[in-house]
Symmetry: C2
Subunit: 120 residues, 2 copies
């Protein structure tokens, strides 16, 4: 249930579409496959990838397989992405503020682009 598998699973547009569709409620494998331009076998393999990543769970009901979303695997990835995004955005906001105030404020981070390189 590593982030590797979660992000790799999300990198495929077909799998993201499956997840998008699943947000509207649980579906069978057949319902998910129906509008897709690929074989049912291919869909089944995509579901296996999503299951391995922990993004969905599958259960049986007669011949049909019920596919349901699972939030747990997504939490870690969402948190990581959110943290990176927020900090980024904050850095840009800081930069905007610095530029706006025209203060030579130090960034205090290890930022080689600000280091004065006199000579080596």
């Amino acid at each position: 249930m590593s982030m590797d598998h979660v992000f790799a699973a999300l990198a495929d547009p077909t799998r993201r579409e499956i997840i998008d569709r699943l947000r509207g409620g649980d579906k069978t494998a057949g319902e998910l496959a129906e509008p897709l331009p690929i074989s049912r076998s291919a869909v089944s393999q995509h579901l296996k990838v999503l299951e391995a990543a922990g993004l969905i769970t599958r259960s049986k009901s007669a011949q049909q397989r019920i596919v349901a979303l699972n939030a747990d695997a997504l939490t870690e990835a969402t948190d990581w992405l959110q943290a990176a995004h927020d900090e980024w955005q904050q850095r840009f906001d800081n930069l905007d503020r610095i530029l706006a105030e025209e203060v030579p404020a130090d960034t205090s981070t290890t930022d080689p682009s600000t280091a004065d390189r006199t000579a080596d």
Copy 2:
């Protein structure tokens, strides 16, 4: 700058480590490569992938290349992930509430998982 490329870029642990490290401030390609157990060539190729995904920008300073993060590409992916995660979580919360109240409430969504399973 598609989500395909962004998620694919994030699926590799080396590239996530690069991004994590870059959150502390801009770095040169050499600084990024130094603690990694792979060749500089490999790091350069990872940076190319990250740049193609729009996650970083590269600029020249003498012989060195300065690597910087770029929030824009991440926004779309973060939003998608957050939306899926939130809706998911909400569905679970609803389920918790229904179970807590012991109401047989129908979920009203196309949810075949409520179909009774007699025997396997």
